[in-house]
Amino acid sequence: MAQLLLLHLIAAALAPWLAKTLRTKAFPLLALVPATAFAWLLVVATDVRDGNLPTQRIPWVPGLGLDLDFRLTTLSWVVALLVTGVGALVLLYCTWYFRDDDPTLWRFTSVFTAFAGAMLGLVLTDNFLMLYVFWELTTVLSYLLIGHNPGSSTNRRAAMQALLVTTFGGLAMLVGIIAIGVHHTYSISALLADPPPLDAVTVAAVVLLLVGALSKSALVPFHFWLPGAMAAPTPVSAYLHAAAMVKAGIYLVALLAPVFAGAPAWHALTLGLGLLTMIVGGWRALRQHDIKLLLAYGTVSQLGFIVAIAGLGTKTAALAALALVLAHGLFKSTLFLVVGVVDHAAGTRDLRRLSGLGRRMLPVSVPAAFAGLSMAGVIPMAGFVSKESALESLWEEAQEAAPFPSIYGYLALAAVVVGSALTVAYTCRFLWGAFATKPGVPPTPITVPHPGFVLSPLLLGVGCLALGLLAPFESPWLMPYAVTLPTGASPEPLALWHGVTVPLLLSLVSLGVGVALFAQREAFARAQARVPALVDGERGFARTLRAVDRGAVETTAVTQRGSLPIYLASILLVFVALPGMAAVTQGRLPEVRLWDNPAQAVVGALMIAAAVLVLVTRRRLTAVMLVGATGYGVAMLFVLHGAPDLAITQMLVETVSLVVFVLALRRMPTKFTRHPDSPSRTWRLGLGAAVGAAVGVIALVASGGRTTTPVSVDFPTEAYTFGHGKNIVNVTLVDIRAWDTLGEVSVLVAAATGIASLIFVRTRNTRLSRATAKALPSSNAARGTWLLGGRTMRKEKRSVIFEVVTRLVFHIMLAASLYLLFAGHNQPGGGFAGGLVAGLALVVRYLAGGRYELDEAAPFDAGLLVGLGLLVAVGSALAPLAFGGTILETTAVDFTLWPWGEVHLVTSLVFDIGVYLIVVGMMLDIVRSLGTGIDRQIAEEQEQDEQQQETEDEPEELQTEGARP
């Protein structure tokens, strides 16, 4: 069996080439492929009947349970016969349907052959996953076939619709398959042999499988895709929508019926929806004017009928279902092919314009009549036999009340009679519409079709009759499937004449009513027009699509408008919702002491006030100041808590950040663009508060979760014995955690270098511009002036008092920074704090006198300072190794220096000096890049603006003309 599929695949691969060279002559050649399969099926027919089922197993992806397992059962044999037989005839028919110069022939031939192969694979496979694979292949390939003529937007929409509906169904089916496969097996024969218990998972899986089947077979509510798909070329409709693809759903229902017919919801989905579809389809078919569309709705109706019977779950019904499948495949493909011939010959499919074709196109109208009679269920056609047997199965159900109460059986019987009556009516409408001579309509001009063109419909049409006449011989071949059903007695064999039975009477009733309906067609059409559409799957589909579309657009508009605050807000919301809530619910809060000293509360209140004011203010500078205020508040808290050292550091860091902010803010608008009392600010306020609260709670929980003694309890003694210092914080930095500090300063160096070069690529490491070397041309100040600002700054920007005070304070600040550095070991201070003070001194010089003044005060490159600092720090870390110590070991040296007195020198001071230098260098870098750099940029921009203004002033005409596209 795999060989047959391979044959299809090879044929599909060669088809484009064949189509290019042979043009339409390629079709008969390709038709040999399904014909071969058909022949093989005939060869093995007796084996299948006798139960020697051919099987074939080829491992493919054993890890997933996805294997090329094939086996031929009676059910698959029947469907395969239809698929291959009709496939071969339709391909033959294509020879005359297409024109030699059709540019898309290469694609069509290939896709069509591949489709035939996929369809064959679908019915042959014994693996649910392969079934799904072939299922989706037919979906995709049918999409390409329906969209064959992509020029029209109708085709595109129809193709898309069919694809979406069937893919959706297919995916639902996949879940069902997985659910069954994971819990039981992926093998179809194993499942049939050993059905799983009907627990919740299995029932859900069965329902999902049915959704797939119903969508493929175009049952309500998925029925709308099939008429839409009529945009496809007629051979495609004849094959896909009569014989092959739509039968896949029926195949699945019939496949599962022996084991799952007892599942809850099974009958509601198959019988209920099937019969509803039968009536809806028949009803709609009567309203069509396009004979192809009429057939499409007729197909929908028939498919509903077959699904209903296949899903019934009794032996009689199973036999009837197979007979229906065969009969329907034959008559519907005949009719579609006939439509194709008529369309080609007459140039229209509108039954209001077709007239008098019957007599003139006998080779077409005769098979059409056969097929039509078969569709209407008239003796002695195949359709009659199968419908008789279907009615019989329902009648038997109603009598025996198994597998469901007889009231439903009678209802179903009534529905089938109504549906059949409609079928008879639309069959009449079709035959009349296509072939009758209508009064008042001139005979449609026709071109006589090629004899080959009518060959396929003729053969199929005769088949309808033959199958009916040979009905008694048909049963043994179908019976092996029927007996696999658990319910019901062994069915009567198919026959043309069972005697005068209830089904026969019902059949006659429906025939009579149907003919009456057709006779009174105008009155009935008026009645129909007054009944609103009950089930409008298409509108529902469109509505769903629109809802998804609209939902997507609106969600995007809200969440994805490129606004960083909104993105961040979503992350923060999750932060509050998950970790925050987890901390609240799971965490254990320690005992909270509100304050040691009421002053702490006051400071805290001030900080909160400052934080709230930040959100209310409209000026950037004010906001920065207020943020700074919260920082100073923290410093105050440190002081009140007895940590002067931390307080100093915090204070200095805060000051430096403030300066950096101010330097950078020069390039920004003074006010925030957003109005402070906009609603977004309100929710941000709330979110901010929530995040703050969450962090607070987590911090509390974390500190409450302590179970072991903190390492820091040993710090005081260790700091004194090993670090020789009384300031624990400083000793921690330069001794206990000196490795950390070393790492941190290295990162600091890298970061400072990186930031400086990122912000101003050009100004890093460039020439220093000392004030002494430059003088404004307008100024004629003498050399040797103490206040250099006069040479370089514009008068209106100077503040003499500030400059004087700066010059006075500068050296004092430097001295203070050195004091902090040296005293840090025992007193509050240290290299970091000292470095910040020195840096601030430089900042003050810059603020007072501009960039030239800064370069005057620090006439060296920042990078040099930073590098030197790192060198000193690393050197002092490694130095102890030379004296037999370990890295970063601290030694104290005590000696007396004459004017000074006792000196207690600790080697870690050298390390601290390194830190000091690095911090000063980094501060210098900041001022140079953010201060000087921005100064230069401003100056350059001003020059550019001036130049631009000059150029803009001149050519006024250019401006008005400059309406660029």
Binding site: G63, V140, L164, L171, L573, V701, G705, I736
Partner: protein
């Protein structure tokens, strides 16, 4: 390094008796080592190689190094186990920084191979001096005289190659690290180069820079969350090693859960941000759109691989014992990710944004596999990552070829009718779309199937996830089908859109990506088998 330093610092009061050298299995870490050295060589080349030869040398160095590293994985695979650390004899703990195991090596290999394809697409020059997708002068203001001058002077951004290799190093490290600190280091090593690469697009530079800034800011936030979580988990377990964490969870008192859960959530936030899971996905569309297209492809494939590797390790090795506490939150994230990713992709009009949302949806599908919590789940996730990665690199490479007036034509309307004028490129792209949709005989189907069946096998929650996943797949089918319809069945726009002819390198990437997509769809058995064998973590 971290392994040696940390215990020494945290146990100052009880100094270790003697210095214990850390054990390093050099063969096992060889792939990582080679990639790191390659990156350093790239930096040196950047500094010393004359400009006219730099591009070629950089590409050869990067590709050669990555290939060598990929080859060395074969040797590493026979040296599985924990390494880079020491076994603490007194407490019987194993303090190792790296776990060289199946998932780690599988992902390393995947990242290397996808990285090679990524580098090859980035190297596309279209006859220019430097890589075509990158601006010659990243630091200059868009449209400024400086930029013009740089272009005129023939500046080129060949530093993208060492940056990429550094990122690959971080990505390889990410699923390999066995402790939270190492994981954080890897996170930063992979992220920082990506932040820069994002901002270097040659065209639409403001968009690119905005994307870079957003990515950086949000990424910095999520990194901070990761660190915050690490601190809490350290407080909880007294150790950052996954092994310790896992055993601490089973022994620690319940009262400590106040540290465990927030810590776990915060760490997951950091990781989920990297894979673009909802609600941490917001950066994805903006960044995917703004970044140079080859970078986007590289990022979509490799970052996802690395981050899912890290998520797997955290979920299966570090926090596995506390699974019941956090898995529900992850289930919600997975549901949201699938739904938002697929629904929002419906409305996109920009190809790159569409692919971004598609990547979000895929992240959701992969998460479903992660939540299966068994070996089949791990195997499925590994397979999915490879399948998706190769397809997505090829897809973005094709996007970078579709041009209008020299600039990339990413608006969907510009893709109309592409199938008629350029059938090969359009067919390849259509095929990739089918793979993203999960149609059988593409890798997308096999990977989705593997993930969903693992989920269904794991129980009721998994089944719900799989059902939602399938529904979302149906939605994405709509999206991808629409693209195919647009390409093949619509009229071309008035202004001509062309597909530029790429160099052999890009062609190679596209071909390999597409063929892998096909091969993994038709003969997936060998890779599935490999992924399955590689699905065992060492502890």
């Amino acid at each position: 390094m971290t392994a040696a330093v940390l215990p020494a610092l945290s146990n100052l009061s009880t100094l270790p008796a003697a210095f214990q050298a850390s054990e390093v299995n050099y063969v096992a870490v060889m792939p990582l080592f080679i990639v790191f050295v390659t990156a350093l060589i790239g930096v040196l080349v950047e500094a010393f190689m004359p400009r006219e030869r730099r591009h070629r040398v950089q590409v050869s160095v990067a590709v050669g190094g990555l290939l060598a590293a990929a080859v060395s994985i074969f040797w590493a695979s026979s040296n599985l186990g924990l390494t880079m650390g020491l076994s603490d004899g007194s407490t019987n703990r194993s303090l190792f920084a790296l776990a060289i195991d199946g998932p780690a090596l599988f992902l390393q290999g995947a990242i290397l191979l996808m990285g090679i394809l990524g580098v090859l697409t980035m190297a596309e020059r279209f006859g220019g001096v430097g890589p075509d997708a990158f601006t010659p002068s990243g630091a200059s203001t868009p449209g400024s005289p400086v930029e013009t001058a740089a272009t005129r002077a023939g500046a080129l951004t060949s530093e993208v190659f060492p940056l990429t290799v550094f990122a690959i190093f971080g990505m390889m490290l990410f699923p390999t690290t066995n402790d939270l600190i190492g994981m954080f280091v890897a996170l930063e090593v992979l992220s920082l180069p990506l932040y820069i690469l994002t901002g270097l697009a040659r065209r639409r530079r403001l968009l690119s820079q905005e994307a870079s800034l957003k990515y950086f800011l949000l990424g910095a936030f999520s990194s901070a969350f990761f660190l915050f979580g690490t601190a809490l988990l350290y407080g909880y377990a007294g150790s950052v090693y996954f092994g310790d964490l896992s055993s601490a969870i089973s022994t620690a008192p319940l009262a400590m859960n106040g540290l465990l859960l927030p810590g776990a959530f915060l760490v997951f936030v950091g990781l989920l941000f990297k894979v673009g899971a909802v609600p941490f996905h917001a950066w994805t569309p903006d960044v995917y759109q703004g970044a140079p297209t080859p970078v986007t492809g590289f990022m979509a494939a490799c970052t996802k691989a690395a981050a899912f590797g890290a998520i797997l390790r955290l979920a299966y090795v570090g926090l596995d014992t506390a699974r019941w506490e956090w898995s529900n939150a992850l289930v919600i994230v997975a549901l949201l990710t699938m739904v938002v990713g697929s629904v929002l992709s419906v409305t996109q009009t920009d190809m790159k944004r569409l692919l971004a949302y598609s990547s979000i949806a895929h992240a959701g599908f992969i998460l479903v596999g992660v939540l299966a919590f068994d070996r089949t789940g791990v195997g499925a996730v590994l397979f999915y990552i490879v399948a998706y990665g190769f397809s997505t690199i090829a897809a973005f490479a094709i996007v970078s070829l579709v041009r209008q007036n020299g600039a990339e034509a990413t608006h969907l309307s510009q893709w109309a009718g592409l199938g008629k004028a350029h059938p090969v490129a359009a067919s390849a792209f259509a095929f990739l779309m089918l793979a993203f949709a999960g149609i059988p005989l593409t890798s997308g189907f096999v990977s989705k199937f593997a993930v969903f069946s693992a989920a269904v096998g794991s129980g009721a929650t998994g089944t719900v996830l799989a059902v939602v996943g399938v529904l979302c797949s149906a939605i994405t089918v709509f999206v991808y089908a629409r693209v195919i319809v647009l390409m093949f069945f619509s009229e071309a726009p008035a202004e001509k859109v062309e597909v530029v002819t790429p160099s052999a390198m890009t062609t190679f990437s596209i071909a390999i990506g597409t063929l892998t997509t096909l091969a993994l769809g038709v003969v997936p058995a060998s890779l599935l088998d490999l992924a399955d064998r590689a699905s065992q973590f060492v502890r």
